[in-house]
């Protein structure tokens, strides 16, 4: 027994109750939300909810901190935008192309990054993503600083016009909810159990005979693919894909969302994305320096608030119960 009872980066996850009710509530909320908020804002929020949830699949449930998820987010956004603008395919194919690109990218970056652990993993993902950033800066199809813009969203399956705001809204809402269900299924599957075992004690998982590297890579690629889906939706929503989506600041933002919401909790990313997007919206008009406030928030969260909002609430409930 070592004296190093280090506070690990993730909190132990509790078995969540049957989430049918939770998801039903989520659908209900999504149905009425546009009545109160600007739908574009809600859709943006949903893209980031998905982004954070996909990221949390890796950090919260596998214990791997990626500092390079912007590559998958922005990479998929570029490919989706390119597919819509140049190839002129229907949106579902454009999104699939974006996700496929993110998966391929995830395989490449993941294969390199899983060679090291912990902080090295974080630094390697950051460096690989920065390499992709420079690639995007120079590759002709991304239009450099201008980005890809000025394309139609097209008709979903050739029928539903996504340039209609509410059509787009229901599409994005449906995709997000289905993805969250998928993430929940992954986390609670035997596969998810092994991921958690890796997170809690990697050497023991290896000694149990699991090929840990493969599981890590699989988790990394799944997370990359779902992140790509979020990026593709964002490109579809804003009809816009730029360098900002692949820049390291974006990777930082998704970490902050997950951290604020609660690493390793299912609801954490949803809450965290809501708080951060809301905060950014507020700051954009307040005249306060956004980056500075984000940085400060980061520091405060790490110093005082490592469980995040949802984690703190769960902890409080548990203590009251126990």
């Amino acid at each position: 027994m070592s004296a190093k009872h280090a506070d690990t980066i993730v909190m132990p996850t509790r078995k969540s109750p049957v989430p049918a009710l939770t998801f039903a509530a989520l659908i209900l909320v999504l149905a009425i939300l546009p009545a109160f908020f600007y739908p574009i804002f809600v859709m943006k929020l949903l893209c980031f909810v998905l982004f954070a949830a996909a990221f949390n699949l890796l950090l919260g449930y596998t214990g791997l901190l990626s500092f390079g998820h912007a590559a998958f987010f922005g990479g998929a956004a570029y490919v989706t935008a390119h597919a819509l603008k140049v190839w002129q395919v229907t949106p579902e194919f454009a999104i699939l192309a974006g996700v496929a690109a993110a998966i391929v990218l995830g395989l490449i970056i993941g294969a390199v990054a899983i060679r090291r652990q912990g902080i090295y993993f974080a630094m390697i993902t950051l460096a690989m993503a920065q390499m992709f950033y420079f690639f995007c800066l120079q590759a002709p199809f991304t239009n450099g600083e201008d980005g890809i813009q000025g394309f139609s969203r097209g008709h979903l399956f050739g029928i539903i016009d996504l340039n209609e705001t509410m059509n787009l809204y229901y599409f994005i809402a449906a995709v997000t909810v289905l993805s969250l269900v998928l993430i929940w299924r992954i986390v609670n599957s035997p596969f998810g159990q092994i991921l958690r075992a890796i997170r809690e004690n990697e050497p023991r998982t290896i000694s149990l005979g699991y090929s840990v590297q493969r599981f890590k890579l699989a988790a990394f690629v799944m997370s990359a693919g779902l992140t790509g889906l979020a990026g593709a939706l964002k490109a579809l929503l804003f009809q816009f894909a730029t360098l900002a989506d692949v820049a390291w600041q974006m990777s930082g933002e998704v970490i902050l969302m997950t951290l604020i919401g609660g690493i390793g909790t299912l609801a954490g990313p949803v809450v965290g994305a809501g708080i951060l997007i809301g905060m950014q919206n507020f700051l954009a008009t307040s005249g306060l320096p956004v980056t500075m406030v984000l940085g400060g928030t980061f520091m405060v969260c790490v110093l005082l608030f490592r469980r995040g909002v949802v984690g703190e609430i769960l902890n409080l409930l548990e203590r009251r119960r126990g």
Binding site: M1, S2, A3, H5
Partner: protein, 251 residues
């Protein structure tokens, strides 16, 4: 009748010749994370004494040394050194109070040369050995002074671990299993070094599995079990106790 029953008889011989104990430990408890490792240890070391902690593996001997030293911060109870409580003294001031520590794993630094290892612990009081004197006692260390500390043999590393504390002028040394895994010849040498310490008036609190080794150099013994001291006797009582001890220690 169990072995412990015979062992709980109080020590009958007065120690320290009326002087106050140099190290006084009372009701010391310690935790590793959530696990409660010490359940109230009481022991004394009088000036100039060599005191040995006996006990089977995992009963808390090493933990006791680490808790006295303050390396384990999660602890409760009282530790007095030379009549002053050291429970609230920060770890890096403990040595300056006059307390030295030689860990079980010896703690020789690979990135330091032998000489750097030797001169690493700051001198905390007068009366420590000079480098020259140490090299005189340990000529091997002088010969190897420029090579990395961990390139030494196990025995030489143990010598180095003890020697570097001799330099500092501490008045009491906590010594954790100095003979573990060493050849008999080396164990012999370490015994001689401990006798040199005694002639210098340095007290030693020794954790030792090698009962025969301990019985030749110690003045007083404590037996530990389950994180507590369960028996205490002086060297003169040793012959009468040997059999019961063998049972208790599972020798």
């Amino acid at each position: 009748m169990t072995a412990t029953d015979t062992l709980t008889a109080p020590a009958t011989v007065a120690r320290g010749g009326g002087a106050a104990p140099q190290l006084k430990v009372r009701k010391l408890e310690a935790w590793y994370g959530e696990s409660h490792a010490l359940h109230g240890v009481d022991l004394d070391v009088y000036p100039g004494e060599t005191v040995t902690l006996l006990g089977r593996n995992g009963v808390g001997k090493t933990t006791t040394l680490r808790a006295i030293m303050g390396i384990i911060r999660k602890r409760k109870g009282e530790v007095e050194f030379e009549q002053k409580s050291i429970m609230r003294v920060p770890l890096h001031r403990i040595a300056h109070a006059g307390l030295g520590f030689v860990p079980e794993e010896r703690g020789i630094f690979a990135s330091l040369t032998v000489e750097e290892n030797l001169t690493l612990p700051p001198v905390v009081a007068k009366g420590g050995m000079s480098i020259e004197k140490i090299y005189e006692i340990f000529p091997n260390l002088f010969e190897r002074r420029g090579s990395p500390g961990t390139k030494l043999s196990g025995g030489e590393q143990q010598m180095l671990a003890i020697a570097r504390i001799l330099r500092t002028g501490v008045r009491l040394i906590l010594l954790d299993e100095p003979t573990e895994g060493l050849a008999p010849v080396i164990v012999e040498r370490i015994g001689e070094v401990l006798k040199v310490l005694k002639t210098h008036g340095v007290s030693v609190l020794l954790v030792e599995q090698n009962f025969r080794f301990a019985s030749r150099i110690a003045d007083h013994f404590y037996v530990m079990d389950h994180g507590q001291v369960i028996d205490s006797f002086t060297v003169s009582e040793l012959p009468a106790r040997t059999e019961a001890l063998n049972t208790a220690l599972g020798v």
